[in-house]
Point group: C2
Chain length 433, copies 2
Amino acid sequence: MTRLNETHDAARRSLVASANEPGTDFPIQNLPFGMFSTATDPTPRPGVALGDQIVDLGRLQQSGAFSGKADAAARAAAQGPGLDELMALGNGAASELRAQLSALLSEESTKAPDVMKALVPMSEARMHLPSTVRNFTDFLTSSFHFTRLRPDGQLSRTFMGLPIAYHSRASSVRLSGDVVRPHAISERDGDLGFAPSTQLDYELEVGIWVGPGNALGDPIRIEDAADRIFGFCLLNDWSVRDAQWFESQPLGPFLAKSVSTTISPWIVTEEALRPYRTAAFRRAETDLKPLPHLLDPRDQAEGGLDVELTASLLTPAMRARGLTAEPLTRTNARHLYWTFAQMLTHHSSNGCNMLSGDLLGSGTVSGPTDGSRACLAEMNGKGTATISLSNGEERVWLEDGDEVILTGRATREGHASIGFGTAAGKVQPATRY
Amino acid sequence: MTRLNETHDAARRSLVASANEPGTDFPIQNLPFGMFSTATDPTPRPGVALGDQIVDLGRLQQSGAFSGKADAAARAAAQGPGLDELMALGNGAASELRAQLSALLSEESTKAPDVMKALVPMSEARMHLPSTVRNFTDFLTSSFHFTRLRPDGQLSRTFMGLPIAYHSRASSVRLSGDVVRPHAISERDGDLGFAPSTQLDYELEVGIWVGPGNALGDPIRIEDAADRIFGFCLLNDWSVRDAQWFESQPLGPFLAKSVSTTISPWIVTEEALRPYRTAAFRRAETDLKPLPHLLDPRDQAEGGLDVELTASLLTPAMRARGLTAEPLTRTNARHLYWTFAQMLTHHSSNGCNMLSGDLLGSGTVSGPTDGSRACLAEMNGKGTATISLSNGEERVWLEDGDEVILTGRATREGHASIGFGTAAGKVQPATRY
């Protein structure tokens, strides 16, 4: 695994005690970026997650803690709205900032008093979208998800030939919160109707944050693509299956996907995830080979990402009895058939311009086993079977009051274990139309 | 035709002589809004088209020409970026501004000197996108377009049941200019390849500009939808057919549509177009009826739009011989099966939030006659036939150097004739990948 540095050193400890606790998502080896505000200062501003604290990046910068490119990067982050300007600077700048942050926040910090003054408890913060999300594109890149939902159970030439994707809705991307059950047009018993959806589903995905963009007409090459990815988050691509089955021909899903998309608030950077890179997915010998413009040796060697992903369900009955959420999906981002670099390269291969802060979704991250099916439609055979929960409840689709909670964690021998925080959404009853 | 006022009076003449010339797109009855800059002041700012001049709205406002709500609307427009803030105020505010503009720019103007100081010749201006275009959605609402491209030639239940649409790419929406021929992945002779597209097409559409948006989870009702539309423009939804045929299953077109979308720079307002409203498209008796939430008596009575639309082709050979562009498509917006209000209502019916300045495309505005086919794929039978041009040239798809020029004009007995300006794009050769 190349390009590791002292920020990845598992032995490094933080001056913030909660960041040193086993099981924290945010040890000093993580240092993800996000936007937060507080009751006393409601202006969204950049922060870095550390244990159960947020480091107010602008405040630390104003104390004179940073120098050189790191200082410029911290100032760019504080420009707002969102972290767009930091993301536009590229991963070199983010890396300089990370290196100085890692030193400043370590037990050996030379500026501990400044750091302590810049801490805000997470419990007192409200999180905001980390970028302006000018564009949101969703892919379909798990072969397991694809084949389970195909009538013939086979990969198509299109699936093997390119990372399938569709433009999705940017305006309804949200952090954790409520999702109101939508009305949907669908066929019921041969009649067309418009009523509250009865087939609400989740899709467990990885979100990809675009760093420096490209000009219209100037594609991003596969060998450059990895460096154009600023970082990653969790993403729940809420899916309204009854709407989807009816509306999708010939132009694909539309209202099935724009109800809302829930993402986790922290951008876990490309650099933080380097220890957990792995080889690209190994295609079957009989599969089509990727076209040359989507093939790069480095990307094939380390374009995969070994991150465990979980989707858990908390029902009203579980909540009432004080039970914890039940994991429905345990999967791993390494199951994706296409790499993130291939997604970005394909997306821009027609000259389409990517903007800094654009969001891509990986597509449902299903794996080969039954336990790794990453949406209900795979578990219930498109609505034909019932899913049994361990508390005796059953589900086909999501019911009102159900909460879906996504988590993610990267672990590797000899390295710290880092997490993604959560993306949680709770289904609220449909409102009267 | 309801809700007309003195701004629609065909007898009203402007103090700007070129606005009184027959054939101008921009008589005083039009008054469309746009964003422009000049060499001496490169900051984009709001303007109003009048004959061959642009009225610098901010400059006129600063002279104290407006009062009350109109003054507030002019100030909102000047806030930038784009006209988003003006559009967010709603059509009532835009109407107040239009009423005062119409008086100020008329022959009877009481502030002619201030107006003259605020004029900028169009020939000296550079136009910019009229909004930030945070989201762009494209519909498919011509039954003639739909059936010509369907293998069975029939309307589907989905087409009759809802205005079919897909999220498209916001970042690549542009005004007139060059469009670089993209590379595309496609099947050629049974092999997958990545090469410059050989099937580049245009689609002649109407663009719809969203005024006041809605909160997530709060749908726009059909009876309110017309008032949420700020205005209209021309839109060329460039389509890469070889990419489209291969990539679209199961999630719809993606790179086929994100190469670029060319729009005209002026927003012809909902109010300016009132004299040219017409009844909604008359469905065949055997068609499905629209669901109740998409039906409104006023929308059925006047939700159609009687605007003549033309797509013309200027080839390098025509250009070399000094010929004018040849009209390939002559159609009319009244051929659309769904109304604009129905499109907006459907789009938000799942709670999806629309933002002020969002752009919708109507879909290819094809009509019943051969001359009203509004894309090459309809004229060439999906690439199986040749299109003969009157100068002896032939086309199947667009060739390098071809320019596609869209124009639009609304005309009705007893009313002024108003135009849309142009949306023109010229195909540039593919760059080396």
